[in-house]
Subunit: 310 residues, 2 copies
Amino acid sequence: MIVAFSGGVGGAKLAAGLATVVKPERLTVVVNVGDDFEHLGLRICPDLDTVMYTLAGLANPTTGWGLAGDTASFMAALKEIGGDTWFHLGDRDLATHVERSRLLAEMSLSEVTLSLCRRLGVRQAVVPVSDEQVRTIVRTTEGPLNFQDYFVRRRCAPSVLGLTFEGADSAAASDGFLQAMCHPQLEAIIFCPSNPHLSIAPMLAISEVRACLNSRRAPLIAVSPIIGGAAVKGPTAKIQKELGLQVSASGVADLYQGLIDGFVLDVQDADLAHTVSVPTLVTQTLMRDRSDRKNLAKSVLEFAASLRTR
Amino acid sequence: MIVAFSGGVGGAKLAAGLATVVKPERLTVVVNVGDDFEHLGLRICPDLDTVMYTLAGLANPTTGWGLAGDTASFMAALKEIGGDTWFHLGDRDLATHVERSRLLAEMSLSEVTLSLCRRLGVRQAVVPVSDEQVRTIVRTTEGPLNFQDYFVRRRCAPSVLGLTFEGADSAAASDGFLQAMCHPQLEAIIFCPSNPHLSIAPMLAISEVRACLNSRRAPLIAVSPIIGGAAVKGPTAKIQKELGLQVSASGVADLYQGLIDGFVLDVQDADLAHTVSVPTLVTQTLMRDRSDRKNLAKSVLEFAASLRTR
């Protein structure tokens, strides 16, 4: 069993790579819910959707989020009648939010996700890290902002002072997460190249998740989302800087110090490997196509195997 | 001031005709809310939408409901993920339902409707008959059915035993309705050619509406939705038959006996005029195009004027 922690686009790409080299029943992708929010009366779970769509091969290849070939009639009409259009919802994508919102009245987010995955042809386990509400609040120089207000509405412009994960203290980990972590053949736990502050930290803030990781029976490996001092996508580098942290793969490794057993850096950052206090793998981490995803997945799994036999 | 009572498609056509011959500030269209329902977490008001879209010149000319040129990406995606697709929602139309549902948390249905109308460029007053919930329940040989379950999901197949309008007893009439009825220059009250059982009756079931009509200071005229023994659209004829009523314009006039001051029949039904106990107007009531709508509107207003001077 391989357990991969993922946020949105970057994490989903490695999850999709893992899905090509691991049997479906052997992969559990644990997904951040700190970005989830209520919008236009709908429950929107951006990271779960991105992971589902990417694993289903349906993700928009240009944006990384949303559905390939989706249309925007709904948004155009909503704009005309003066609705809230700061968060884009494609016509087909909207069906996911409407159906999820409807199903959530009857079942847990884990069950809803399973149902949606089955319909989309995703055979891997995609599990929200918790079925309870965990909400990322970004403390900024302009005051606290709900995650999507910071991320989408304000386009990450305000300077970050810190992050709060509302509900994380009392949230239980999901059954799917616990089952995967307790699996007798657990071979590796992987932090995909997701934003450590916005995607991984909200999951680690859940005490049951942290406890499970602390008593893990398989190596925990993090893949750096920073390559050559810049984030492949999103505000990781900007936030690292604003929090006074090093904007580099080393800076990311520092964040995970004491938790991880191995760290994966890009070939561009080979000279930083010696700064990391755990075993490292230097490989190409940039995933431009399916082949890159598969190669990175293979390398990370081989690295995990090598750590198990040490 | 002209007050027109309307259900969906047929009623909206005459309302649109009236809008071409009466100044915008002189027309109030009072709309049935008995068809309204909650679906996929959204408040859907089919009659209000049809009236708004028709007055805005945006209605789908083929169906009479929905938006011209709307797309169906949302429905296609919803079907793929196993959602409820028995009630069609176009991509652009969906924006209306989402925005209405959002606004209803902050304001009344009348205020939401005014806001949507302004955005769609509708200058006439379109007012729900009540801001409170009135729900049409169709009592059938297969048990009681919520209106849309009967009308759309079951396509009016079950035999009708009777109708119940839940909430009508305690519902207040909307301010817009009351203001129009109290207008010092009220000239005519018109029951558009809508289904008397499903569109007009739910409005008449509200005691305040009935009281206002009973103390009216202008002639009340009904336009028959049945022409030549058949309904132009919808189940009016089928329901008349199932309730043991005459399937004819006379049968409709009988329903309104004691309430109306004048009745409008189609030229096809000229021979039935003598069966009606109030003054009648025989004219072309079938509205195939804009010109038909305008002509009928003119004729009905002239008929009302003649009744005022009698």
